[in-house]
Amino acid sequence: MSLFVDQESYFRPRTLDTLHYHHGLSERLKALAASGDFPHMLFYGPSGAGKKTRITCVLRQLFGAGVEKLKIDQRVFLSPSKRKLEINIVQSNYHIEITPSEAGSYDRLVIQELLKEIAQTQQVDLSAKQRFKVVIINEADSLSRDAQAALRRTMEKYMSNMRIILCANSTSRLIAPIKSRCLLMRVAAPNEEEMMTVLKYVAKRAGFDLPPEAGEKIVEDSNGNLRKAILILEALKMQTPDLNGPLSIAKPDWEVYCYKVADLLVSEQSPARVMEVRAKLYELLSHCIPPTIILKTVAERVVEKVDEALKADIMHWAAFYEVRMRTGSKKIYHLEAWVVKVMSLYKVLFRLLMQNPFD
């Protein structure tokens, strides 16, 4: 049995007409697909906002149902030092989907080889609706500079055989020449009402009624991420089939663990506590929770619990050490540094308050 999110009969829209929100955007995409003059595109927006769903809908609009016959392929590239790189490719007759960041620092190679190969072959299927193929590049914001530079001229030169659709969380890390060659499509996260409507729709399709309180709770908890919201809905449905009464939305383990770390931080500040926190952080890291997420979750939790005067400072140092973490190589150092910093800030403030209590 498949999940609510992925099943067409429950939720997953397959065509532009059935998309649930951002109707203006869908209209535009539809018009563009019909006009025959289809540009390169860049979809950006927070995760769970529906970028990929929209891209598949556009493909469907462009090529018809044929794009849904997918096959998964593995291609091997040779790096200059003769190392083998394996890249997974999802493709149909009309499009190809790659995630070049899988190749790490060799993403430029993948871009150059693969795109040129596609670009230089024409569409052979005469019955195809469009003369071009579409290349979807996932996680475009984690492409290296070199890879992006390699895209520049390719995008202009092979416009007749190929269109590129980039999918990214943010445009900040894309170089300007790429942005100026694409039509930017911003996919914002759905707002609360839109999410509510979708949840109700899913509930109706699955054959049950969604009590408004439960809906509100799910919307609040999922923070604009529709995929998460629907998954929560399904989980809740499994737990308590009638969805009435007090609901407890199960937080993921790591989040609970992060909250524990935050509580430890606030309740006592001492070297012994630092060691304790350190062990917990290690635990989190060894379970492959990205350090940025750990830092953000813990910081947000800590900020909720401390005095207004400290909040800005704590976030400042979180931002500061987050960059350090990116540029450095050993994540735990920077996490620890932040922990110690927060503790010392807390202590200093506390001491000040103790010295002049009537201030």
Partner: protein, 374 residues
């Protein structure tokens, strides 16, 4: 002066070669309206004047073109070599390499060297009946040369000198500082300046006229202000906007707001709202919002605003650059505060370039700016 640079010519010299595969209607306008001769190049009067001379004397130095993107560097050298050699000789006399080609040291040693040392082939008779100067040398265009490695650039040094008799190099780059000194000193440098608003406007309205779309002054202004002197960007935006407007049924007119959306610019109202919530007073932005003044500038309030911006999917660099413009040109803030804000923006930009988390840094900027101005 600038008006006759491209006005009549482009219409008469439209290429009629059969080999053109792409239907002109589907071509990006950037390619379609690339200058065909160097006279068509907008705005770069000085460079054009110098290159005109080389056309008549048919002698060419090694060249280094540098300047910000979208100012016509690649267009100029392509137009120049086309005028020198004509369409028939173009293929065997010009080698164009850019960042999408492998350009490590091996390629410099083999491909470039081999091409450089060929004796130029005999001039083919021009099929279109025109006579071209066709001087006895070849041109190697190294586009985006600043992304070549140091080693590869080093390997070029001697090649450039040895085959100078039969080969000219043209390096095109954005940052002249990334070209190693020995290479730069072998070339005559041409700086391409960002386009002034008048020439950009002229070019845009020319294209609009050719494409038979109606655009008026506010749209051109929006195009120019969002593209910051980058003509290619302005043209792409124009094309995207016209695609969107003509694809709806019935066709709607292009609005300046469309241009902003295409360019990924955060709408002014949202930025103003954000600015006022972090304590930067916005002119004309009266306190129409119903939240009490005391709530503004508190941590939770700012955090909520940042979360909202992130959920809308705006990019952090864009938010910060627009906030920067707002603060730096602010009428009432004093210079000290402005300088302090500028420091914060600079730091944030560096952090984002290093790949830092966007939400954390927008929040950081918001909190610190709030602290500085209050």
């Amino acid at each position: 002066m600038a008006s006759n640079f491209f006005a009549a010519r482009t219409t008469t010299t439209r290429p009629t070669t059969k080999s053109q595969v792409i239907e002109p209607a589907l071509q990006p306008w950037v390619e379609k309206y690339r200058p065909k001769t160097i006279d068509d190049v907008s705005a770069q009067e000085h460079t054009v004047a110098v290159l005109q001379k080389t056309l008549t004397s048919t002698n060419l130095p090694h060249m280094l073109f540098y300047g910000p993107p979208g100012t016509g560097k690649t267009s100029t050298i392509l137009a120049l070599s086309r005028q020198l050699f004509g369409p028939d000789n173009f293929r065997n006399r010009v080698l164009e390499l850019n960042a999408s080609d492998e350009r490590g040291i091996a390629i410099v040693r083999e491909k470039i060297k081999n091409f450089a040392r060929q004796t130029p082939r005999a001039q083919a008779v021009a099929s279109d009946g025109k006579t071209y100067p066709c001087p006895p040398y070849k041109i190697i265009i190294l586009d985006e040369a600043d992304s070549m490695t140091q080693d590869a650039q080093g390997a070029l040094r001697r090649i450039m000198e040895t085959y100078a008799r039969i080969t000219r190099f043209c390096l095109v780059c954005n940052y002249v500082t990334r070209i190693i000194e020995p290479l730069a000193s072998r070339c005559s440098k041409f700086r391409f300046t960002p386009l002034d608003n008048d020439s950009a406007a002229l070019r845009l309205s020319h294209i609009a006229h050719e494409e038979r779309i109606v655009i008026d002054k506010p749209i051109i202004d929006a195009l120019i202000s969002t593209s910051h002197g980058d003509l290619r960007r302005a043209i792409t935006y124009l094309q995207s906007a016209s695609r969107l407007s003509s694809s709806t049924n019935p066709p709607t007119k292009i609005q300046p707001a469309d241009i902003q959306e295409i360019a990924g610019v955060v709408p002014d109202s949202i930025i103003n709202d954000f600015a006022s919530s972090i304590g930067v007073e916005v002119e004309g932005g009266m306190d129409v919002d119903d939240e009490p003044h005391s709530k503004k500038g508190t941590f939770d309030h700012i955090k909520k605003k940042v979360k909202y911006l992130m959920r809308e999917g705006y990019s952090a660099t864009q938010i910060i650059s627009q906030l920067h413009d707002l603060v730096v040109f602010h009428p009432t803030l004093d210079s000290r505060k402005k300088s302090n804000c500028a420091l914060i923006f600079a730091e944030a930009d560096k952090a984002l370039c290093d790949g830092a988390d966007e939400e954390l840094w927008v929040l950081e900027v918001a909190l610190r700016v709030n602290k500085v101005v209050s």
